[in-house]
């Protein structure tokens, strides 16, 4: 195992290389990242034997990956914000055709107004496309999760695509030491793809073509079942990864100091690191607070959330995006999972960190204080600078 200093972008690239992807397709302009630039480099120098397909848009990039995957290739692409939005149609095709493409997503805010900073609205608004979704906290987790995602996605019982999301700038453009596994270990963990459900040019069949009402529901239900199967298989995949590569990924909802907690914050991505150090500081002051990291948003870990609910703690869910007309997307899922819990814990939706606004230790402290002490509304825009009702042109546009 070699220790290298890698950005989150390069952690994605090296993971795709270690996975021995057959096909990479990408569109190389804003909002693309250096993930696919590095992969192009690896292909050109012969370090990675893959077909690198240059396309004219993100829509076509995913189409190329889906088609390659339908033929049994291991396909990878990466995108971000507007690019992911443009892929939306093909996201449904990928899951419906049961093509286990893996995609890196640099989580960035979506327009309007234009932004290139961290925010989860791009991938959270792809919630219902049938993709498995992971959110990474560190560059190490990015690399490990991409490899585990290939294995889970390609399992014969799953055959669903995965996106591995990471916070823009904090992960994509900052570097940290990353343990890069040996190729031989990755090869043992991730064998070549099974041909089940793939096309064979010598025996023509049609994949995903017109379907009558007589069959459509069953194919949709099959995607739902496959998503369930992914949740059931994920622990085995992670155990295998830990056994062969030696790192524990921690399941879909790793917990930190939650057993005796009065208040628990659920976080995604890099906000988790800030929250963990804030938990340590608050614990040192005698506050019983805990943390749970939502590593996998789809399939949603409802069982694990119910177990978290049984601690009896108040739960705050910190979303870096918002579902307009409702609450934070992760918060609504946590609330739904806990609906039948008895007693049902108090759950609050905190929205913060949109468009790259920093989630600071002071902000996290205020969220715990809010949970422990206040009888507030269910949805709190926690870092809003201009209070509602006080918005003026000057306050908004500076």
């Amino acid at each position: 195992m070699a220790r290298e200093v890698l950005s989150g972008d390069y952690a994605q690239s090296y993971a795709a290389k270690l996975a021995r992807v057959d096909v990479v397709a990408a569109y190389p302009i804003t909002p693309q990242t250096s993930i696919v630039e590095k992969l192009a480099d690896l292909v050109v120098t012969g370090a990675l034997r893959a077909q690198y397909i240059k396309v004219e848009s993100e829509h076509s990039a995913l189409q190329a990956c889906v088609s390659a995957s339908a033929l049994g290739a291991r396909a990878y692409t990466a995108t971000s914000s507007q690019g992911l939005l443009l892929m939306h149609e093909l996201l449904h095709w990928a899951s419906g055709m049961r093509t286990p493409v893996v995609m890196g997503v640099a989580n960035r805010a979506v327009a309007a107004p234009w932004s290139i900073d961290v925010d989860h609205a791009d991938s959270m608004s792809q919630r219902d496309t049938g993709w498995i979704q992971f959110y990474a906290e560190s560059n190490q987790e990015v690399l490990d999760t991409v490899l585990a995602a290939f294995r889970l996605s390609e399992d014969e019982a799953v055959r669903l695509p995965s996106m591995v999301a990471m916070d823009a700038f904090y992960l994509t453009h900052t570097v940290e030491p990353v343990d890069v596994p040996e190729q031989a270990d990755v090869d043992r963990f991730l064998p070549p793809r099974s041909k089940v459900g793939t096309l064979d040019p010598h025996r023509p069949t049609r994949l995903g073509s017109f379907t009558s009402p007589e069959h459509y529901t069953e194919f949709r239900h099959a995607v739902a079942s496959a998503s369930k199967a992914a949740a059931q298989l994920a622990p085995t995949v992670e155990e295998e990864y830990a056994r062969i590569v030696g790192r524990d990924l921690g399941g879909p909802l790793p917990r930190y100091l939650t057993d005796d907690a009065d208040a628990i914050l659920v976080t995604m991505g890099t906000a988790t690191t800030t929250a963990r150090s804030t938990v340590d500081a608050l614990r040192a002051e005698g506050r019983k607070v805990g943390l749970a990291k939502l590593r996998r948003f789809r399939p949603f870990p409802s069982e694990e959330v119910r177990a978290l609910g049984r601690t009896g703690a108040r739960i705050g869910v910190l979303d870096r995006s918002f579902t307009y007309g409702a609450a934070g997307a992760a918060a609504t899922e946590v609330m739904a999972a806990l609906y039948a819990a008895s007693p049902r814990p108090l759950v609050r939706s905190f929205v913060a960190g949109l468009g790259g606004r920093d989630i600071t230790p002071a902000l996290v402290r205020s969220l715990y204080r809010h949970l422990l002490e206040e009888e507030g509304p269910e949805v709190v825009w926690a870092d809003l600078k201009v209070p509602p009702g006080e918005a003026t042109a000057e306050a908004l546009h500076g």
Partner: protein
């Protein structure tokens, strides 16, 4: 089902793989324009056949395009693409 086309392995039931060819479904009863091909002008370049987004054109033994009415939506792409303008869209009566 067309003999010889079907895979000998049954497709997994959870995958929308169809072993029957797509011309088992006729899909164009609602067409309002139809392409009419003038063989005198046609150079047998095959561009119309390539550009047709459906399976509505096939090539006969001599290489001339022939319309398969059951699949032609009357979109007119073939007429636009034809270099010698050998295809004219005519209103259905």
């Amino acid at each position: 089902m067309t003999a010889g086309l079907a895979s000998p392995l049954p497709p997994p039931i959870d995958t929308p793989l169809a072993t029957v060819p797509s011309d088992t479904l006729t899909t164009a009863s609602w067409r309002t324009f139809r392409p009419v091909i003038d063989r005198g002008l046609c150079t047998r370049c095959n561009l119309c056949w390539k550009f047709c987004p459906d399976i509505a054109l096939e090539l006969d033994a001599e290489g001339y395009p022939v319309l398969r009415e059951a699949f032609c939506k009357g979109c007119g792409i073939c007429a636009v693409e034809c270099p010698p303008k050998a295809i004219v869209m005519e209103k259905e009566v």
